[in-house]
């Protein structure tokens, strides 16, 4: 039978079949195993989600399926065709959107479409109808003359998708299409995907690091560090956790409550949510408030439906033999005892009518908010919403065009150097000196923060013990796994016991266990009176903040406690909205106001 031809009347070949696929890369002298013996099959029809944190092997698998890479060993079939043997036959039948969408930024929307139509051999006569359909579907109609580079992240994503769809493919490969895209565009993308799979019977293979997107897939493949953790319908994975998820409330502060619950042996996972703590138990037994020791007053548990993430965490725990550190060596250990107790009055960060323009583009548009001592304050928004610009202005890295800001009573741009010693800063992507070893990084930052003598030695020792860096201290920072990098970056930022901590997307790309461990430390610091300002695009992390501000197009659309923000989105049909629902509601409300104005 020639390749690419399905036997008539038979079950069509699976969309993707991997048999013992192995693939490694050489980075300098190291060999990194991206895929380590994957066996998997994805059926035709519907959406198959390829789910895992950074470095799980998602992109490698996508590229193997697209015929852009060859496996070291094993066999990959796409639509029944051996990709290694006949990549052209595969490429004629699939559409592939790489990360960052593969657009020519200096071509207009229309020119990008024309190019891909030419390349995919769409006859000129068919084009007007096809373009009209795609532009309608993506909502890009009004922007055909705009350069792709000047589109927003969400519009780029949709244009990238339109370009891969000019010739309708049988199988659509989408590599992390939702990274850095706002929730509204994300929801619109899912609507397009639904239309494709339900209406046009296209098969979609979709990779993502957002666990909440798994629930929208028909089947998921869970990847972690090159291994397949599990596969099946998402309900199956979360279903195993049914009856083990509870919402706990008590009269205790929710951070203390979380700390207490997380240390219990029968609790597998405890995260802050909706004014209380969401608990996943290790076995399917209803938790008894009386068994919590030392006792927590007014503790109540309410059963809640299981989430996909619960299943993923459970599988990570089982398969990798890893457990979330039950009792993190608390951050308090090395912290200054003399920190003033959490004062109710003082706002440590004050932002009033802050504006920043770049040429005729307004990145931050007249925003105001305040952060109290000991508070965790979140800035939530998509790429380009203005949160990084705000963040950089607060740290004194960028002058505001107008407005006033105060951090610990000073403007960091004009403050004397010692004032900067009172803040800690962790940049995006865990910026460390990649060429230096772990110990050299620690020593450098200790000196940069003006520590010396015994104090310097003491803090370095504290950092390597607290963050368990000692075994890796001679490793070059560049080669560290992402979780270690994150820990080292935090250790460097805490070297001088800052009063205020700035964290710019501190958890992106890190697996759920690493994220939990990280937040546990941050909570501990906040309990001690450290003020934390954090940016994130993980909706569920917004729940961990005491208060947050939702930003879009340079403006703060809504600010307040997570509960208050979620309450604004509460409707009769949606009594218990998620943070994402709230976000979308806030943005839509703003758009309506914009239309009215």
């Amino acid at each position: 039978m020639p390749p690419g031809v399905d036997p008539p009347e038979a079950e069509p070949a699976p969309a993707l079949r991997c048999v013992d696929v192995r693939r490694s890369f050489r980075i300098g002298k190291r060999v990194v195993v991206a895929l380590d013996g994957i066996n998997v099959e994805a059926r035709r029809g519907g959406v198959t989600g390829l789910i895992g944190p950074d470095a799980a092997g998602k992109t490698t698998l996508m590229r193997l399926a697209a015929g852009l890479l060859l496996p070291d060993s094993g066999r990959i079939e796409v639509l029944g065709i051996d990709v290694a043997r006949d990549p052209l036959a595969v490429q004629a039948r699939v559409g592939y959107m790489p990360q960052h969408f593969g657009l020519y930024e200096d071509l207009s929307v229309r020119e990008n479409l024309d190019l891909y139509a030419d390349l995919q051999g769409v006859a000129p006569a068919e084009r007007p109808a096809r373009y009209a359909e795609l532009l309608h579907m993506t909502g890009l109609g009004p922007f055909t003359g705009r350069m792709a580079g000047r589109l927003s992240g969400g519009m780029k994503q949709k244009l990238g998708l339109a370009c891969t769809l000019v010739q309708p493919p049988e199988l659509l490969l989408l590599d992390e299409p939702t990274v850095g895209v706002d929730p509204v565009s994300r929801r619109e993308l899912w609507q397009i995907i639904d239309h494709l799979t339900r209406g046009l019977r296209t098969t979609v293979l979709f990779s993502t690091a957002y666990l909440d997107e798994a629930e929208r897939c028909d089947t998921v493949l869970l990847l972690h560090e090159g291994k397949l953790l599990g596969s099946g319908p998402p309900r199956e994975i979360s279903g195993a956790m049914e009856g083990r998820s509870f919402h706990a409330v008590a009269s205790l502060g929710r951070r203390q409550l979380q700390e207490r619950l997380a240390s219990l042996p029968w609790v597998m996972d405890a995260v802050i949510q909706s004014g209380g703590v969401r608990v996943v138990t290790a076995t399917r037994t209803a938790p008894d408030p009386a068994s919590v020791w030392p006792p927590v007053p007014d503790l109540r548990f309410t059963p809640v439906p299981a989430r996909f993430e619960d299943g993923f965490v459970a599988r990570l725990n089982d398969t990798m033999g890893r457990t979330a550190p039950s009792s993190p060596a608390s951050a308090e250990g090395g912290l200054r005892a003399a920190l003033p107790p959490p004062a109710q009055d003082g706002e440590v960060i004050v932002v009033e009518h802050l504006t920043r323009r770049f040429g005729d583009f307004t990145a931050v548009d007249d925003i105001s908010f305040g952060v109290r001592r000991g508070e965790i304050f979140g800035l939530l928004g998509a790429n380009g919403a203005g949160k990084s610009t705000t963040f950089r202005m607060l740290c004194g890295l960028l002058p505001p065009t107008s407005g006033r800001l105060r951090v610990a009573g000073f403007d960091l741009r004009t403050a004397a150097a010692p004032v900067r010693g009172r803040i800690g800063y962790m940049a995006q992507k865990f910026s460390l000196y990649g060429d230096l070893s772990v110990a050299q990084n620690l020593r450098f930052f200790a000196s940069a923060y003006r520590l010396r003598g015994a104090r310097r030695a003491e803090r370095i020792a504290w950092a390597s013990e607290e963050f368990e860096l000692a075994p890796m201290q001679d490793a070059t920072a560049r080669d560290l796994p992402l979780g270690f990098k994150q820990r080292l970056a935090l250790a460097c930022a805490l070297m001088h016991e800052p009063e205020i901590l700035f964290l710019d997307e501190p958890t992106s790309g890190v697996d759920p266990l690493g994220r939990r461990e990280f937040w546990r430390r941050i909570n501990g610091l906040a309990e001690l009176g450290v003020t934390v300002l954090v940016t994130t695009h993980f909706m569920e992390e917004a729940e961990y903040c005491d208060r947050l501000a939702i930003m879009a197009q340079g403006r703060v659309l809504s600010a307040g406690t997570p509960e208050a923000i979620k309450a604004t989105a509460r409707t009769a049909s949606r009594p218990d909205p998620t943070m994402e629902d709230a976000f979308i509601a806030v943005i839509e409300a703003a758009d309506n106001r914009g239309l009215a104005a």
Partner: protein, 369 residues
């Protein structure tokens, strides 16, 4: 304060030396340039292919031919029997010089009349053409004077007693190799300093640095000093190679040489820091360094004399630090110059260095604070 600067300097040096790619940049291109310039960049002529058309077969003309054949500069590849192939030989670059000995050569020589000899030279490379002409003239004159003296002709009233000071054999290498000290010091210092901030901006660590209690001036020093150190070490290596490998005489003291080196490296670091504060990616930094380097090398006197340039270009070279350092290196190496005689080179370089550093500090502050 100084501890922080020191920490930054140590970090900078570690970052450069631990990374294989950076190490390669410090070792590879300098080595290649040293070899290429040391061996390939030469204006000295040897074995220039030539042809002779001798229309006057005689004792005298054979003697003249022997003079050319015996010269290391020329290599006689053809004796011609007619005039016809001459143009073709030159046009096709088979020979660069054709010597035509006239039929009346011996007769005029015996009559002590100027005997006609024609030298036809390929002018496509004008420098080579002029040098060939010069060499040919020297051989012809020597032959004529000897011949005349031996055959009782009148002596010329005066003769030239040619002597080249500092470089008696007029070897190009003595000129080029000390120049490489300046060239490579500039390249390496500029790259180390110019790329370091851009690299930090790319990886995001620069923001990290700015939020520490370090002041801009600390960062500036911490970024400039490693370039100073690496540039000086690199220059020292090349100085050693010049003396021990290429056998270039080092006639002056190390003090005037290193004083010049220090001022030069400071001036170049200042330019590197300016590039650093203006760019945001390593690629832009590389482009900036390239855009500065090409004119600064060409307008420095490294390969061609500044005196040959138009006056306005000569004025332009006054702001080029490499121009002064080249004079110092060559002066110390070949002429044995001391500090006193080089003062006129030190102070402009010091002024340029000071201006550069102030400008860099200003730009740096503007970009960062």
């Amino acid at each position: 304060m100084w501890r922080q600067v020191l920490a930054l300097v140590i970090k900078e040096l570690l970052a450069v030396l631990r990374d294989a790619k950076s190490r390669a940049v410090l070792i590879g291109p300098p080595l290649i340039q040293l070899i290429v310039f040391g061996y390939a960049a030469t204006f000295d002529l040897n074995h220039v292919p030539m042809a002779i058309y001798n229309q006057d077969p005689s004792q005298a003309s054979r003697e003249l031919v022997a003079h050319f054949a015996g010269s290391p500069t020329f290599h006689v590849v053809a004796m011609l029997g007619s005039e016809r192939p001459i143009d073709n030989l030159i046009d096709s670059r088979q020979v660069q010089l054709v010597l035509v000995i006239d039929r009346r050569f011996t007769r005029d020589l015996l009559a002590h009349q100027p005997a006609p000899v024609q030298a036809i030279v390929d002018g496509r490379n004008s420098n080579t053409a002029l040098l060939i002409e010069g060499y040919a003239n020297t051989i012809l004159t020597n032959f004529a004077l000897n011949w005349d003296a031996a055959h009782g002709g009148p002596a010329p009233s005066a003769v030239l007693d040619l002597r080249a000071l500092y470089n008696p054999t007029l070897s190009s290498r003595w000129f080029i190799v000390p120049g490489i000290v300046a060239l490579l010091t500039q390249v390496v210092t500029l790259l180390v300093v110019g790329l370091s901030v851009a690299r930090e901006r790319e990886t995001g660590t620069f923001d990290q640095l700015l939020v520490t209690p370090m002041r801009p001036v600390d960062i500036l020093l911490g970024k400039g000093l490693p370039g100073l150190l690496i540039g000086t070490v690199e220059a020292s290596v090349i100085i050693v190679a010049a003396v021990f490998w290429f056998d270039i005489p080092l006639r002056g003291g190390l003090l005037p040489l290193y004083l010049g080196l220090l001022l030069f490296v400071i001036a170049v670091s200042g330019i590197g820091l300016m590039i650093s504060s203006l760019v945001s990616t390593q690629q832009q930094a590389l482009l900036g360094a390239f855009l500065f380097m090409v004119p600064s090398i060409i307008l420095s006197g490294f390969a061609t004399p500044i005196a040959n340039m138009p006056v306005w270009v000569q004025d332009l070279t006054l702001i080029n630090p490499m121009r002064y350092f080249l004079v110092i290196v060559r002066g110390v190496f070949l002429q044995g110059a001391d500090i006193g005689s080089l003062t006129s080179q030190y102070w402009p370089m010091a002024t340029i260095g000071a201006v550069n550093l102030v400008a860099a500090a200003w730009l740096f502050r503007r970009r960062t604070i």
